[in-house]
């Protein structure tokens, strides 16, 4: 039995005549880690801001635990946000930042202090209460922003590309930590990113967005192995999209066979070879002119540009998709 905590019903939103959201509907389960994944400008941030109450939708409704909160002011929603640039109040120290929401709720001072200490412990920055935000590193600010939000025990925590400003190594580390936090707290996380790796690493479910529309919602496995649309196949799996008659098929590059792997049945010419991210990528042109990329780990393959070779793929690796 599903336990739905938040429901978006046919949300539409335009800014100055540009349609940013074209009817977004989504059901989010309690204690779920769900990611809105999409390129910049796809409407994911606007969706988040509508959930937070920082924007009002033109049409549609937002339900939190069955109650309509569509036009409720942001300060009256039991939803908190971790902002992209952290938005720590520069004139308050870390403890005051973290305790701000509790102070607003008029919680007794002693209790605030206890809760703040607990939250700081949770993000492993117990000693930092007296520091000012500008005395913290990027990663530390990030943790404080998270502590400031979770200390209020929100029903839903919204995270707007919270790791975007961190370097790669720190980002990997924070991914694991966020996932741990979410499990520990049992709070619903709605996470925004444009990084498919991040989405796959952390999420229980991923909602892929494109041009104000949800293209597909599913587990990382479903999104990766059974993309519903060509956009999802391309954005999440970097898949090749091949057209056969009216139909489109997605074939991920690592599944393209070559060099005598079975079955290689199609004539192709090697157009280009390149090495990136630990992978060798080889671009072929099929006889009908369509381009297809194969990838292998390693830095070289016994194949040269211009050569006429045979390539192929297993039928189960060609997933039929809807053209976006």
């Amino acid at each position: 039995m599903k336990d739905i905590i938040l429901q978006l019903n046919a949300i539409q939103k335009s800014f100055e005549g540009t349609e940013v959201l074209k009817g977004v509907s989504l059901e989010i389960n309690r204690a779920e880690f769900i990611t809105l994944l999409g390129a910049s400008g796809c409407g994911k941030t606007t969706t988040l801001r509508i959930i937070a109450g920082l924007e009002n939708p033109d049409k549609g409704s937002v339900l939190l635990e069955g109650k309509d909160i569509t036009n409720l002011e942001p300060n009256k929603r039991n939803v908190n946000t971790v902002f992209q640039n952290y938005a720590l109040f520069p004139h308050m120290n870390v403890a005051d930042n973290v305790g701000y929401g509790l102070k607003i709720k008029k919680m007794p001072k002693a209790e605030i202090a206890g809760r703040v200490a607990e939250a700081l412990k949770l993000v492993q920055l117990e000693e930092y209460g007296k520091r000012m935000p500008d005395q913290l590193s990027g990663g530390q600010r990030q943790r404080i922003a998270i502590a400031r939000a979770v200390v209020n025990e929100p029903k839903v925590l919204l995270l707007d590309e919270p790791l975007g400003a961190l370097d790669l190594k720190l980002r990997r580390q924070m991914q694991l930590e966020l996932k741990r936090l979410q499990k520990q707290l049992g709070i619903t996380f709605i996470y925004i990113t444009h990084d498919q790796e991040e989405a796959i690493n952390m999420s229980d479910r991923i909602a892929v967005m494109n041009k104000g529309v949800l293209e597909q919602v599913g587990t990382p496995n479903e999104i990766y192995y059974q993309p519903r649309t060509s956009y999802v196949a391309d954005f999440v799996g970097n898949a090749n999209i091949l057209h056969v008659g009216e139909d489109a098929f997605a074939i991920r590059s690592e599944n393209v066979l070559m060099n005598g792997e079975e079955p290689c049945t199609k004539e192709a010419q090697v157009v280009e070879k390149s090495f990136a991210g630990g992978q060798l990528r080889i671009l072929f042109r099929l006889e009908d002119g369509q381009l297809i990329t194969a990838s292998r780990y390693g830095i070289d393959a016994d194949i040269s540009v211009g050569a006429q070779v045979k390539i192929g793929w297993l039928p189960e690796h060609a997933v039929k998709v809807v053209e976006a």
């Binding site: 920082l54 300060n75 908190n80 902002f83 109040f89 520069p90 709720k105 400031r148």
Partner: protein, 260 residues
């Protein structure tokens, strides 16, 4: 880039020249002689005379009251205006903002002339009220533009974060917006206060027969002849400026700490 010596020398020479008249004023304020051309030994008698001068004291108090009232009004009008215009942009706002800047764009004499004629047309009695109105018109632009610039540079998500954490819009203003713009208000006030306290041209036109401001008083004295009393006054005013500027630098430093 390598820095040659002569630019420093140039800047140094010009700076020294600009300080010569100031230093002379300070030196001659301690001169026992009434004539500024002869030195007759160290004396504090001009300070004593200055403190005994009731007119001068009254003028000083008037100038302080005038500057403080104008600044309070200007902070209220300018800050609220900047906040309101920041939230919603429209061409009427731009027009009003543009018009409000006119008083510091045109020669002061025009403003003085305008107020003299308007106030006499309105039948307002010339005195503190007319002075405050006139001074507020040129204090508003300083505060308005300072606050506006700060608001443009302010991270909008700070206000959103406070709202998100449950603060009401009024609370957001007191907890987040105001602390962010206070340094801007203070530097605006500093400029506005200095301009008001220093103003001769506009004050001459709008002051009444019973109210004298310090600069107007000094101006009349200077026109009638040299009194060493003014040397003493100048020295004290210079001292005040130095103290205020150092104070402002300290405030500015703590303000910068907050901003980063």
């Amino acid at each position: 880039m390598k820095m040659k010596k002569w630019p420093f020398v140039y800047v140094g020479i010009i700076t020294v020249i600009t300080y010569i008249p100031i230093l002379l004023t300070v030196i001659y304020s301690f001169n026992a002689s009434k004539l500024s051309s002869v030195w007759e030994g160290f004396s504090l008698k001009w300070y004593a005379e200055l403190f005994r001068d009731r007119d001068m004291r009254e003028a000083l108090v008037n100038s302080l009251i005038l500057a403080v009232l104008s600044c309070i009004l200007a902070v209220f009008i300018g800050t609220a205006g900047a906040l309101g215009m920041h939230r919603k942009k429209n061409p009427v706002n731009d027009l009003i903002a543009g018009v409000s800047m006119i008083p510091i764009m045109i020669p002061e004499i025009i403003l003085g002339m305008v107020f003299l004629s308007v106030f006499s047309f309105m039948g307002l009695p010339f005195g503190m009220i007319t002075l405050v109105i006139a001074h507020t018109t040129f204090c508003v632009p300083y505060i308005f533009s300072m606050v506006k610039a700060r608001l443009v540079g302010m991270d909008k998500s700070l206000e959103e974060a406070a709202l998100d954490l449950g603060a009401s819009p009024v609370r957001v203003f007191w907890d987040v917006t105001l602390p962010q713009i206070i340094p801007a208000i203070l530097s605006g006030v500093m400029l506005a206060f200095a301009m008001s306290f220093d103003d001769v041209v506009i004050s001459i036109f709008v002051t009444g027969p019973t109210v004298n401001t310090l600069p107007v008083k000094i101006y009349t004295k200077m026109k009638t002849g040299v009194t060493p009393e003014i040397n003493a006054l100048a020295t004290l005013m210079l001292l005040t400026t130095v103290v205020l500027l150092v104070g402002a630098a300290v405030v500015g430093r703590s303000g910068k700490k907050q901003k980063a």
